[in-house]
Symmetry: C2
Subunit: 334 residues, 2 copies
Amino acid sequence: MSEAPHLTFDSDMPGVSRGHLVVPGGADRGELSLPVFSLNRGEGPRLLVTGGNHGNELEGPLVARRLIEWLPEAQTCGRVIVLPMLNPLAVQAWSRNTPLDGLNLNRVFPGRAGGSVTERIADAVSRILLPMADTVFDLHSFGPTWDFPPAATTHPIADLDLMARTVRMAEAFKLPLTLVWEYNDTVGMFDIVAQNQGKVFVCAEFGGGTVGADNLAIYEAGVRNALIALGLVEGKAEYPTFRQQKSGQTLETHPSDELKSPAPGIFEPRASVLDEVKQGDLIGILHPMDSLSVESIDIRAPGTAIVFAIRSGGHVGVNEWVAAVARPLRLECH
Amino acid sequence: MSEAPHLTFDSDMPGVSRGHLVVPGGADRGELSLPVFSLNRGEGPRLLVTGGNHGNELEGPLVARRLIEWLPEAQTCGRVIVLPMLNPLAVQAWSRNTPLDGLNLNRVFPGRAGGSVTERIADAVSRILLPMADTVFDLHSFGPTWDFPPAATTHPIADLDLMARTVRMAEAFKLPLTLVWEYNDTVGMFDIVAQNQGKVFVCAEFGGGTVGADNLAIYEAGVRNALIALGLVEGKAEYPTFRQQKSGQTLETHPSDELKSPAPGIFEPRASVLDEVKQGDLIGILHPMDSLSVESIDIRAPGTAIVFAIRSGGHVGVNEWVAAVARPLRLECH
């Protein structure tokens, strides 16, 4: 009954194609059609741009839509495939995970053909779209309860040559932050699957909270800069202006750089992203809310570092992340 | 088995008291204890400050906590009661409504003693705390999928004298926006119940999206300004700086000022809050996401007005709000 995942158009056709990636139905729901844009200008880089991996991160789908508007005028060579909304079920629910099966799409790659709908989406993307690209940009945001600067990120990669090429690609976005993020919970992530196939994969982490006109312009500029660096479009790459500055820095962060909540309560940020802090500087305050007789607890910087992520007022449990810091990247010689 | 709602301390005692408002248990769960702070300096205004009416609006609880810190040094007369978290069940879930019964606390006032937990909270607040106050500040935010300027708001009030006093109290916050909001869905709101008892009730709508250190400072300054105007604390009220400006304006808005989505899709904001727009100016773009062949739809200003609320990148259904505008308030003579 369920056919194999497929595109509704021939991506080898020259020029613009618009259609869908068809994700077959399964036990939990029927077939799903994900809108896809493709522009084939022959020889050159092969790029896949995806958004909406998590449903409450909407900058990516919006930047992907803008890209589709100007790419037909701008692209001079190569192939670009754009899938603005990897997980429409989660986007429509403004939910990180898919409501139907509760799964986080970015933890089930490469997916499973006979699995639940989230696993079938990952399977269709892994089998149909991923082989068509050498480079992947997955456009995320940091989610609504965090403040986060416009950033291009990667996890550390064992293949040091691929690592160096990935960091250079991330830096080509010319965003305020390029981040190499050592993170323990990476099983099933889209980037790991792509990197294992030797592809350059950059995860853009775009802000958090309010999706505003100014921020979208920065995100769009970052993606345009990366397309210029790839040679897909012409133009001059420039740092966008973020908080009165036009600059970028490349940092690394490790699990030990996460600041955790010492108790349940509401976290109040007292620092902003990209602030430089020294040991003992106040980053935020944890307010236990069960009793007004209990003292609030200061969260202070463990050492000299740069704040790159800060919780923006969520209620947190004990030992949950409230902030994270980073330091300048030192790439190992090889 | 279930006792009546009560305070765990005697609010007539002079000076600082800390304790709880006890909400009796019911069929759905046991007793709930809401932390309460009270400061009695004798004769003078009687103020109730509440936060956390909606669980994903966390500026209010944070500003309430700050207030509790400096009030013992600052308050010179009168009585102030602070309840930072009206609905801890919703705050802990970062949810607008109470997860247990699905109810919106701000639509069930004055509550019901034998009802579900949300109704019991409203009942306890209405019966125990509301009679202790002549003035109420309920500290809201506009929620995580909207951009909204720091504002003090009220709905129109039939009693024109109370209306004038309420608008003056709202303006005393000296926030960028004072708003008289004609709104159809007001049954069961906290302010309606308080106003029906002749009390001055101001609903502070504080931002939306990321709860940052800068915004919290503005919100705190607004509440301090209002306390100065009431004569509860000494000091000079000043407009806080918001987007490089120190000023405020008083506007009114009607149901016809709501801009609705013409189709399902993702709304992209192209204007910012407090922007002045003329008829035909672009406010945002609605992107249908089911197909990339369908044109995006421009949302334009219906006339000369000021944008005061703009959706920040949510997926919306047809006919859902995406923005709202307002015009300078004209108070009717009486």
